[in-house]
């Protein structure tokens, strides 16, 4: 079995375990203030780290390419309260146009 399949299956099991765990553990277990605060901060930290890395990194190298223009367009779309699909499409089209016109690689 490929590494991708292993990743898909293990991550799926892990995510389901989190869901089922919350339905099964005693209430007080997850209600400690620190656990709650960290779990509120965790999605923000991880998602913003993913935004940064997926915009500026190629492997272990930091680069500026058309993805930056795409991200900028996505932020503008979000400020204009555009729905998810519009945000993603606007970012992709912007990056594609920048590449097509030779403004960015």
């Amino acid at each position: 079995m490929s590494a991708t399949w292993w990743a898909v299956i293990l991550a799926t099991l892990g995510c389901y375990a989190a869901k089922l765990g919350g339905h099964s553990v005693p209430q007080h277990f997850l209600e400690r203030p620190l656990v709650r605060e960290v779990s509120d901060a965790l999605p923000i930290a991880l998602l913003m780290a993913l935004v940064a890395v997926q915009t500026f990194a190629v492997g272990q190298t930091l680069v500026l390419d058309a993805r930056v223009a795409g991200l900028g367009a996505a932020v503008v779309a979000l400020l204009l309260r555009a729905p998810f699909l519009v945000v993603v499409v606007v970012a992709a089209v912007t990056a594609a146009v920048f590449r097509h016109l030779g403004w960015a690689v």
Binding site: P33, P43, R67, A69, L71
Partner: protein, 244 residues
Amino acid sequence: MSTVEGHLGSDGETHWHEERRAIVVNAAGVGIAVAAYGVSFGAIAVTGGLTVLQTQFLSALMFTGGSQFALVGVLIAGGGAASAVATSVMLGFRNAFYALAMAPVLKVHGLRRLIAAQLTIDESTAMAVGRSVEHDGGRASRLAFWATGISVFVFWNLATLLGAAGANALGDPKVWGLDAAIPAGFIALVWPRLNDRRSWTIGLTAAAVALALTPFLRPGVPVLLTAVVAVVAGVLAVRRKVES
């Protein structure tokens, strides 16, 4: 809930029919809105190198958008399976807290609990916890949870298939700017959570830490290490509350 229902009589039942209809309509609306994420997920996963089967497997069995995007994003960036799994599962932790909030309302056991767990996601929880449990013993809240969960599951999976099948025809992802679609998807996912100064501080710190570590560590690991930022933020928040 018996005392309340006893007093309501037929007026209460009429009201319930209206409320039930409104909940089901809302649930369908949320499902259709979420389908947009699903199309993007299917397209991004398949252009990034996952098979249609792997992509569909994630939507059906993982069924939590942020974690699915994270797994695929890290794999596409060459981050390796271990970092991809760890990032994905950490993002899925929040569902445990949703489950914790839903368990006393749903009161399910056995097979129903296994199914309820799978449907415990951002949307189903948001629609359910918005409803007061006191006036009807949680009847509306339970319906909102199940209706939204099932609606999102159906639309999410159909949309994933559509995106995945369509993406096979696209070819090179860079020509279409699909590499820029990935960070755009993540910023759109985190956007509703960036609602005060503290969340921006956490987010921008994590972004800076991930970029600073990128040249020195394997792809995927820097993102994982920003969990430390979340832990520090949590400790500081608890301390501030103790002091005040």
